[in-house]
Amino acid sequence: MKQVSITKLIESFRNNRFRVLKIKLFFIIGAIAGAPLLMVSVIAYLWLYGIAKDDFAIRFTEKIETTSLSMDYYISEKLSGLQFLASAYSYESLSEQKNLNNIFHLFKREFGELVDLGVIDDKGIQKVYAGPFQLQGKNYATHEWYEKTIARGRYVSDVFIGYRNIPHFAIAVKKYIPSKATFCILRATINMESLNNRIAAMGLKGSEDAFLISSQNILQTDTRFYGKSMERLVFDVIDDRRSINKSIEIREITNKKGFIGHKKLENVDWHLVIVTSDSPHDKIIDLLRHNYTMVYLTIAVMVMCIILNFNISRRMVNWIQTSEKNREDAIAQSEHANRLASIGRLAAGVAHEINNPLAIINEKAGLMKDILNISGATPHKDKFLGLIAAISDSVNRCRTITHRLLGFARQMDINMEMIDINSLIKDVLQFLEKEITYRDIKLELILNDEAPLIESDRGQLQQVFLNIINNAIDAVQDEGIISIKVDFSGGDSISISIQDNGHGIQEDKLKQIFEPFYTTKEKGKGTGLGLSITYGIVQKLGGDIRVESKVGIGTKFTVELPLKNKNSREDAKKYQF
């Protein structure tokens, strides 16, 4: 039981080792095969990303360009209109409230979205005002827009609150008054809401935001995500706006998915900024999403790789496992043959040394018997003859053993001839016929007429089958059953099985039955050499012998013999002593 447990433990350890090897191989082959695939995938992705990024940049630039042009047009239209008013109307005409009102209404009708129109003198005082607020007389001398308009001649201010408490921006132009050698400023204002409406008209996507910022990074319009008008933008859009004046800059948002692009407007110190959380990566995903063939193809290739990998690793491990088993079997067979050879040499030596004194005992006993037989009636003659007979019987027992030992050691040279196995088995059975009949054993003989002749040694094969059938006879009870079957399935070997319904052999003893001197028979009934001789002969004839047995059910020996013996005479000699 202990031996079986250790065997199972070793088998379990071995299986576990091969299982681990299989997993390792799976991952190694996967890594080897997957690395180039991954590399190609990364390169393909980077290539696609580059294309998508270029495409994305073009589209994004176009959007910024278009929108900034629209905003520029919007501002310059108002500015040009005001410039026209300043040129077309005299200061006196503009200073008339009634005239200014009319001009304002015309101007508003023409350009729309104007809130008011006013004339500010060279002291910064609003002299005339047309609009909804009470701003006449207000002083703008200290206002930034006023100073910049004087300096530049025309100016569009940032969005501011002013006197009216509503976010708006001013468009102003400076008008010279030659008759008075002074100037005045014509100013119109527009609500910030108008700018918001212009931005909203861009038709932004949910992932986009667009807004205007001043040169001081102050929001000029409301945004979706980054604050309200007149608040400071929480991040810097550009590092040095002046250096990239009028140019479009697009860059990825640091630590954030998306892109930001901006462009400075023509007539105002504002930048149009567009922010999008879209990216070229989304484009690739969209592309894949709309191109299922590629996705299916990729998945199919991956699945194929995994299956292929699994099969390769399984086959490799099986191959290694088989090789290892074959090697172990070969080693075991070689060890077994060596052990038999060593024991054979020993047996031959022992037999020789015993045979000589045994021969002396035999002859001495024989001589005593001869003398008694010719002496006529002598006292205790019968007693002596009985004793001599006992000596002779013991000598004969020893003789049987030593002769078998010599037979085991010798295993005579093979003498090849073509043999009909059916006929050979019938011949062997003739030797045992009396025993079989006497014990009323049922013999089932299934011969095979299809079996071809085999090249083998008749005498040695007879010994093989004699030994096995003899063992079967010993194993079965009276009226037991012995089946002998010849099988030939068309290959290069023939199979002969001898099955009995005897007591069977225990599993742990099965491996030992071919060992010399091992016997399961009662003491004095077996020498333990029969099956080891049988094993040696079958091996020498190029065949194989197997045994299966179950206690209480019976034992089956199967002898496989080649149709042609491959073992050369020289090979066979190594079994001799």
């Binding site: 037999a351 045979n355 001495k364 001589l367 001869d370 010599l406 010798r410």
Partner: protein, 126 residues
Amino acid sequence: MSKKILIVDDEDEFGSTLAERLLIRDYDAKAVYDVEKAMIEIRQSPPDIVLLDLRMPGGFGMSTIKAIKEISPKTKILMITGHGSQQNVKDALENGAEGFMIKPINIEELLDKIETLYNQSQAINP
């Protein structure tokens, strides 16, 4: 005229006992214990049959067989061995021995062989 048997075996107990048993059976049997004495005996009085041990001091089988056959070609040689090496037996038969037996021998079998060999000898050389 009884059949002349010469036993050549270095195991003197075996040789002498076997000779005695053959004498009881009316054979003219004699035992010698080395090859030299055997050759002298054969030259002086060639036996019908020699029972020859394969391994002997002063000669290992084959040369002894050849020597016997040279001196007395009519003499039949039956090898008696405790070892029974296949090759040795084969060589002995090829060198002129007529049969072999493995010790310990059965007297009945030995007598059968002796008679067979003697009859063969008589058939060839009446």
